[in-house]
């Protein structure tokens, strides 16, 4: 990712800044200047909004073949998360055993390193999520290992 592009999206990534549509009373992430549901009327009616950073796991998955730059995490959990204000986002869930993450668990945002351009390039920071306030089932999910295709 180019440095200017990342820089333009800093507040969105660092502070979960999205948009609130005054016409439909709905929240959007990432930031939008226009709400397709409200059409032309929403132009000029979208306000910046900082999300609280709390939400619920809609559906998690465990990544065993790590994406480039994420080798040190493997295996790790990615999940679709519904923020308390409504929008859904995809994020890594960290600081837990990946197979313990289940649908319906509560999560909150944390500030983490997302990656880097290269060993000498710019560092990318932003938002990930951790579990909080859940009863974790520590029993190993047998399917999580058997399903791996080598």
């Amino acid at each position: 990712m180019s440095v200017p592009r990342f820089w333009r999206e800093l507040d969105t990534r660092y502070n979960l800044i999205g948009s609130y549509c005054k016409i439909t009373d709905t929240y959007h992430y990432p930031r939008r200047s226009f709400n397709p549901e409200a059409g032309r009327e929403s132009i000029g009616s979208m306000e910046d909004y900082q999300f609280k950073g709390t939400g619920t796991v809609v559906t998690p998955t465990v990544v065993h073949q790590a994406q480039t730059g994420y080798e040190m995490f493997g295996p790790y959990c990615m999940a679709i998360i519904e923020l308390d204000e409504g929008p859904r986002i995809t994020s890594q869930i960290v600081d837990c055993r990946p197979d313990t993450v289940k649908s319906g668990m509560r999560v909150k945002s944390v500030f983490r390193k997302l990656g880097e351009d290269s060993e000498s390039g710019i560092l990318h920071y932003g938002t990930k999520f951790i579990l909080f306030g859940n009863d974790i089932d520590d029993e190993l999910d047998e399917d999580s290992i058997d399903d791996v295709e080598l």
């Binding site: 040190m72 960290v94 600081d95 920071y125």
Partner: protein, 348 residues
């Protein structure tokens, strides 16, 4: 009077035990643990560094004080493991707490006491009414070379204090410093791991500076050890701070709350901040605290503090003890992976 308006702390949620490290090198783990009085140390995850720790600690401090970014006029971050050699940690913290653009920011380096030098700087500019509130951060993700004595203690963590004049939870009554050119520990530009002078880091370095600074600050305050409820000093291992505190005339009751190294290792620039945070987590109005930082190279900063009635109004949940209790043990292989000690060849 100026003082601490709020404070925050952050300790990564992984730890490795001293015995696990020793077993890799064929060393006697229980002997190392006992000799250093370090039984486990915190380990940052692959996506944690000085910047992420600084942001988390600062956000906690901001939340506790119910302050917005526009209330902050300065951010200074002290560390010896800033992720960038050129590009400030403090600007990223500023952006992450919504304090940009109307503030001044800079990164400090003075081994393990860069953060307390930042506190003194904030006291100056707050005292001169140049800014309403200034943020001082002490944080590190230090590394010890594999097999070196430092590997048993070098850990990660940090803390933030917000310095201001309004709603002060602990007044800083006095501060002073004791500084000399003493090369006990260093890391040259571009080198991954620091080097140290072994036993030379003790008597002429840590003990001389901490003892002198401790005596100077008590002389300045006209106080005696028994006037304090708590004392916290820099803690490169679990033994040095106990010996220093006892030599200054303090008791276990006074130093045990702020002594975290036996459980989380040496967090370098974060050590005094985390010890102070653990004390503020439980302190009552009227309690008096003596804090003495130490940074190799070498120098000590001393602070005499009195806790005010304001602390009773603050939400002090998310304590240092909470952070320590959530830490999960990892093995050496995971530790080596997380800390970039594996040679990945051309695969990465």
């Amino acid at each position: 009077m100026s003082g601490i308006v709020s404070y925050g702390a952050y300790i990564p949620s992984h730890k490795i035990e001293t015995g696990e490290i020793a077993s890799v090198w064929g060393a006697d783990g229980s002997a190392w643990a006992k000799n250093l009085n370090v039984y486990s140390k915190s380990v940052p995850g692959p996506d944690e560094d000085v910047i992420t720790i600084a942001v988390e600690a600062t956000r906690l401090a901001m939340k506790r004080a119910k302050l917005g970014g526009t209330n902050i006029g300065a951010i200074y971050t002290g560390s010896e493991s800033h992720p960038y050699a050129v590009k400030p940690t403090s600007t990223i913290v500023a952006e992450a707490i919504g304090a940009t653009p109307n503030l001044t920011a800079a990164d400090f380096e003075f081994a393990c006491k860069a953060g307390t030098a930042a506190i003194q700087t904030c006291l100056g500019i707050v005292g001169n009414n140049q800014v309403e509130n200034g943020i001082a951060i002490g944080v590190d993700t230090s590394q010890g070379a594999p097999g070196d004595a430092l590997e048993y203690s070098a850990s990660a963590g940090g803390g933030t204090v917000i310095i201001g004049n309004k709603n002060v939870i602990a007044t800083i009554n006095h501060t002073t410093s004791y500084t000399t050119d003493t090369p006990d520990f260093w890391r040259r530009e571009g080198q991954k791991y620091p080097r140290h002078g072994g036993r030379f880091t003790g008597k002429p370095a840590f003990f001389k500076h901490v003892m002198m600074c401790g005596k100077m600050i008590m002389d300045m305050a006209g106080s005696k050890p028994e006037d304090y409820d708590y004392v916290v000093t820099h803690q490169p291992n679990g033994k040095f701070p106990i010996r220093a505190a006892k030599s200054l005339g303090f008791t276990e009751e006074q130093y045990k709350t702020g002594l975290l190294t036996p459980r989380i290792g040496n967090t370098y620039s974060g050590a005094v901040f985390l010890g102070l945070a653990a004390i503020l987590d439980i302190a009552k109005p009227g309690d008096r605290i003596l804090a003495v930082a130490y940074g190799s190279g070498a120098g000590s900063d001393g602070f005499d503090l009195t806790v005010t009635d304001e602390i009773a109004k603050m939400d002090r949940s998310e304590t240092v003890e909470d952070m320590i209790s959530r830490m999960e043990i990892i093995n050496y292989a995971t530790y080596a992976k997380y800390r970039g000690k594996l040679n990945m060849g051309d695969s990465k």
